[in-house]
């Protein structure tokens, strides 16, 4: 799994990360009701809580959001079907269901919702090909295989679905370049690679990939690093902070973090901070958001820089949480 990074000589000093400002930025997110943007992003509210809470854990401030309110909000998003919406009155979808379960796992409150119903909801979305639909309307995507299986794994109920078929579907999405796409035949994309390697890792099936195809994939991922140190998601595209997670966690799952220049990546991620108001943007000088903030911090944590709490590359949660759930690796 992720190789130790102690051998990397980092040039950036820990004080270049504005921990306090990032904590305050995340705490401020729910007080921005006088901004139009706040209302336009209601469909991401539950994901936003997950991103913010994960970021705070990595910043060693796990209690900076009120626990009771967090739990109440998650409860208010559950549907009788067992699935979760992004907000009360929003329809259920796997993308929100995983966030809900991850939040509860992090604050150790899985018993505060009807998890048996959640298992039924998730299991009901598996299709004969092994893939999962995102919701009752049927969109199929390797992202949903990951969200479904991680949800069930956290709940200790993987056996509720056909895991081998799900793995088979993921393997059918692998391309000659080693990468994975949305569905069989689709082009390789770093986000999709993360979800597919995640599925293979959490089902202990990584060895279904041949050593040659793993090397090919790790080589493709290493090519994502651009001369400025940042990572892009596909060939000939611009770098973006969120790929500091999708690409890096994939390299970690393959045990090849050392195939890129981690020091240069750290410098580039840090350049995307808003030094005044906290938070990270997709690229230097752009507007920050909590999505890019968490994935910037996850990237920094994964290479072992800056005294951040350790992140688990498979689950995108603090290792402290995954250890509590699954025991030490």
């Amino acid at each position: 799994m992720s190789t130790s990074s102690s051998s990397v000589a980092f040039t950036n000093k820990p004080e270049e990360l504005f921990v306090e400002k990032h904590v305050r930025y995340i705490q401020s997110l729910d007080t921005r009701k006088d901004e139009f943007e706040y209302w336009l992003t209601e469909h991401l509210r539950l994901n936003g809580v997950y991103w913010g809470l994960t970021a705070l854990h990595l910043l060693n401030n796990p209690t900076a959001l009120p626990r009771d309110e967090t739990i109440k909000f998650v409860q208010s998003c559950q549907h009788p079907s067992g699935g979760f919406g992004a907000h009360p009155d929003h329809d259920a979808h796997l993308l929100y269901t995983l966030s809900a379960i991850q939040i509860l796992a992090m604050v150790d409150a899985l018993d505060s919702v009807d998890t048996a119903a959640t298992v039924t909801y998730v299991a009901g979305l598996q299709k004969p090909s092994g893939v999962f639909a995102g919701d009752e309307w049927g969109e199929e995507d390797t992202r949903f295989v990951y969200t479904a299986l991680q949800t069930l794994k956290i709940l200790g109920r993987l056996e509720a679905v056909d895991v081998q078929k799900a793995v088979g579907f993921v393997l059918a999405c692998q391309n000659y370049d080693g990468g994975f796409g949305v569905v069989p035949g689709a082009e390789s994309h770093s986000g999709q690679i993360f979800t597919c390697l995640g599925v293979l890792s959490l089902t202990n099936s990584l060895d279904r990939l041949s050593p040659a195809s793993k090397d090919q994939l790790a080589g493709w991922l290493a090519q994502r690093q651009l001369p400025n140190g940042g990572l892009n998601g596909r060939p000939e595209k611009l770098e973006d902070v969120c790929y500091s997670w999708w690409v890096l966690s994939s390299l970690a799952m393959l045990g090849k973090l050392h195939w890129i220049d981690q020091n240069k990546l750290v410098g580039w991620i840090l350049s995307c901070q808003d030094e005044v108001r906290g938070g990270f943007a997709d690229r230097k000088g752009n507007a920050v958001d909590v999505f890019h903030t968490v994935f910037a911090l996850c990237g920094l944590s994964l290479v072992g820089w800056g005294g951040l709490a350790e992140v688990d590359p498979v689950y995108c949660m603090p290792v402290e949480t995954t250890k509590r759930l699954f025991g030490p690796k």
């Binding site: 901004e35 035949g185 507007a287």
Partner: protein
């Protein structure tokens, strides 16, 4: 909350006027959300509700719950008396025709509604999904001929979207899905026609779109060599196309040589482009992997060992020439190491194994010098050599 490419605002506090302007927008928006959520809760599946969702989705196409509500409205209208014309006393056939026309008009107006939204938000998953839902609904609710027309018209849309952004991930995925669906519907149509005629007459109408799609990838990389999406799609189309052409061994090899020749020109044009390199990689993997054999009919390019080593040696020759002009090109060096590795694995009479190994070692050393970012990878490779 997931903004991309938005410039950072100034750090000055917002003025009272800016806050007030936002408040007015927020109040209007929330009133509309309240109205639509109310209609959704009361299951008011009417044309008026449809219009309310339009206003909201035009402002916020990421609000997926509202798209779902819209789906329910459309499904309801397709079966409800409000939509289906009352035509008592007319012949059954005429009534059926009117029903079909009303359904078509509703579904077509949905497709029209989505056009400006897709152009404004080309990366919004929910809009693309909703568009597919309308087409899938057309397949279920309309006659085969009418549905097929709608699906085929979509090719025009996706051409337009991909000409605006030739790498749009959603556009390429949508295109592949369209092709699959059109082929399926055409096959269905043909089998229905056969049944009707029951004469067993075999018309030669082409069902497969593979040649058309292959030509599209050629046109796309013709405009811009650096289009990984087009090269990727090409690699997925070729195996099927050669099978459908009934290509003989000889024709396959001629085809391969043509593609490899194109690649040589492309790499010479831009040796720093990864998308070309990856496609070249695919061609060589499909043709020159050590374990493949010409007797295996599932092979795309079934070469014998000597043909493989000859192909690889030929490739290395022009790469060596190019390296003299571009001695620091890391992509070229990486590709040469890949070709060298294949060559050693394939073997064959003319291969000087020790010579290739020594070359690879030199290329790796050069790579460590010109590409220190990925030094960890090159060191590992060198250790294994």
């Amino acid at each position: 909350m997931t903004s991309h490419g938005v410039p950072r605002a100034s750090t000055a506090p917002r003025t009272a006027q800016a806050i007030e302007e936002d408040r007015v927008k927020i109040d209007a928006y929330n009133a509309l959300v309240g109205e639509v959520q109310g209609l959704k809760a009361s299951k008011t599946y009417t044309k008026a509700s449809l219009l309310s969702t339009s206003s909201l989705l035009e402002q916020n196409p990421e609000f997926n719950t509202i798209w779902n509500f819209r789906r329910r409205i459309v499904l309801h209208l397709l079966t409800s008396p409000e939509e289906v014309a009352q035509s008592e006393g007319t012949e059954e056939e005429k009534e059926e025709k009117e029903k079909e026309e009303n359904k078509l008009s509703l579904l077509s107006s949905e497709l029209t509604f989505l056009l400006p939204l897709l152009q404004k938000f080309p990366k919004c998953y929910w809009i693309w999904n909703y568009r597919l839902f309308i087409l899938q609904t057309a397949s279920e609710k309309l006659s085969l001929v009418t549905a097929l027309k709608l699906w085929k018209a979509e090719m025009g849309l996706v051409n337009k979207m991909l000409s605006r952004d030739s790498r749009n991930f959603h556009g390429w995925g949508y295109r592949r899905y369209l092709v699959q669906s059109i082929e399926k519907l055409q096959e269905q149509q043909r089998s229905e026609e056969k049944e009707e005629k029951s004469s067993g007459k075999d018309d030669d109408e082409e069902e497969s779109l593979v040649e058309q799609e292959f030509a599209y990838t050629t046109a796309m990389y013709g405009k811009d060599l650096s289009n990984f999406s087009a090269w990727h799609n090409r690699s997925k189309l070729i195996p099927r196309m050669l099978t459908e052409r009934g290509a003989t061994l000889e024709e396959r090899i001629t085809f391969l040589d043509g593609e490899l020749g194109e690649m040589q020109t492309a790499v010479y044009t831009d040796p720093y482009d990864q998308s070309i390199q990856l496609y070249n990689h695919w061609l060589l993997l499909e043709s020159c992997s050590p374990n493949s054999s010409p007797s295996d009919t599932s092979e795309v390019f079934p070469l014998a060992t000597d043909q493989k080593s000859e192909t690889l040696l030929r490739t290395l020759d022009w790469m060596r020439e190019l390296l003299e002009e571009e001695p620091e090109c890391r992509l070229l060096l990486e590709e040469m190491i890949f070709v060298g590795g294949l060559l050693r694995a394939v073997g064959g009479g003319d291969v000087d194994d020790e010579g290739v190994r020594a070359d690879m070692q030199a290329w790796l050393e050069k790579l460590m010098e010109v590409d220190p970012m990925r030094g960890g990878r090159w060191r590992e490779m060198k250790d294994k050599l």
